[in-house]
Point group: C2
Chain length 247, copies 2
């Protein structure tokens, strides 16, 4: 029997947002690997070994999964949201490229999931209804200057901007800098969505005009979507959206 490795997206939290494809892979798995809170979302059962690990060990985790798959195990590496968006899929492929040649023959599949930003956008209306970008504000793996430059060019391009990892204890000020850069490019009152823990009991949404947006409105579980110049709040509703046409 030959092993395989699937990198699966568990979606933002609600079980109703997990695809049947992911559910089927978990039912066939012998091993589940991932960050502690994501592995905790997988129901234990006989024959399934859970391997929870801490944050910031993505590459170790990827190599562990590839080793197990090569040894004939059926491995699911879990991410929240979509595994291809600032998550485990890139880490696994980094592991494959840097690893022994036999890893390139492993049966690897990426199983998409509902991303945090699309779950957030859906709950609040359609802020990503036209051209948009997604930027990881974490400076763990890239220089702050690269982040700043991308934010500025994204604002000049008039994208709606989805900000992942907007804020942590180690980086209290990155989001403040991002807001300042956007404001410097476009001095207007486009709406900003703070969407925390969408589809979980801790869900909290807030929409404020850009001049009133503050980094303190976000934490590690928040996706921040900065509207484009066209993004509008519909008065009398809880919705914002970006029209299909550009100015």
């Amino acid at each position: 029997m030959s092993g395989w490795l699937a990198i699966a997206g568990l979606g933002p939290g609600d079980a109703a947002l997990v695809t049947p494809e992911v559910t089927a892979a978990l039912a066939e798995a012998t091993d589940v690997i991932g960050y502690i809170p994501y592995v905790a979302r997988v129901a234990p059962r006989a024959g399934l070994t859970l391997h929870p690990s801490d944050n910031r060990v993505e590459l170790d985790r990827a190599r562990h999964g590839l080793d197990l798959a090569l040894a004939g195990r059926r491995v699911v590496v879990v991410s929240s949201g979509d595994p291809g968006v600032f998550a485990m899929a890139a880490a696994v492929f980094e592991g494959v490229e840097q690893g022994p040649p036999e890893w390139r023959a492993i049966d690897i599949r990426v199983l998409p999931g509902i991303s945090a930003m699309f779950a957030a956008a859906a709950r609040a209306g359609a802020p990503l209804g036209h051209d948009f970008c997604a930027i990881n504000l974490s400076d763990n793996l890239k220089p702050q200057a690269v982040i700043d430059r991308r934010i500025r060019l994204a604002a000049e391009a008039d994208f709606a901007i989805a900000c992942y990892n907007p804020r942590s204890k180690a980086r209290p000020d990155g989001l403040t800098a991002a807001f300042a850069i956007v404001r410097a490019v476009c001095a207007d009152d486009r709406p900003v969505l703070f969407a925390r823990a969408v589809s979980t009991p801790e869900e909290h949404l807030r929409i404020v005009p850009l001049p009133e947006a503050r980094a303190e409105m976000a934490d590690m579980r928040t996706v921040v979507i900065i509207g484009s110049s066209q993004t509008r709040v519909i008065a009398g509703t809880r919705f914002l959206y970006t029209p299909r046409s550009a100015a």
Copy 2:
């Protein structure tokens, strides 16, 4: 009994990629509205009226759904992929904003789906594993100059670029222009993914270096992902990916 309207994403095609949330909404619906091939993916049943309509009538379709919901019907407006990405959610909210005040009180929900670009990325590896943007290349609703400018700024920002609606009979040359703009900014051989009809029987994937990318490799059912400067093909595999770290 009060009506409601849900804007639901059917994913890229495979039933295993439809969320349980969307399946449940379809099971409760009295009316399903959408573009002909998407409505065709919904199984007929007693008590369910299907309203297929042609392309390019998105706003009429939205208003029809809002009218029905106000009259007490349980309406699902279907999109392929995710409804919030170049799809029906924005059209419905345009309808709400432009429509009679009573439409603002309708119970509206957006039910996210697996987007075409994330399904394509998953099948091919993880090309959207770091900062990226999504641009609709159709000039139906925006000037070509806006598209060109966004492509140029996205290339300068070194985003991976997901191109929606890359090519149609009416616009045979937009994608050629996009490739030329990216090449002018970055004269390298970053990989380009052409992913057609992912998760359907017509699925076809192709990866070529940017200098060899041709508009003829895409059609209306293709998502094109132009890698960033960091995006790499893993030799000896069918995968490309964008590492988590920036240069």
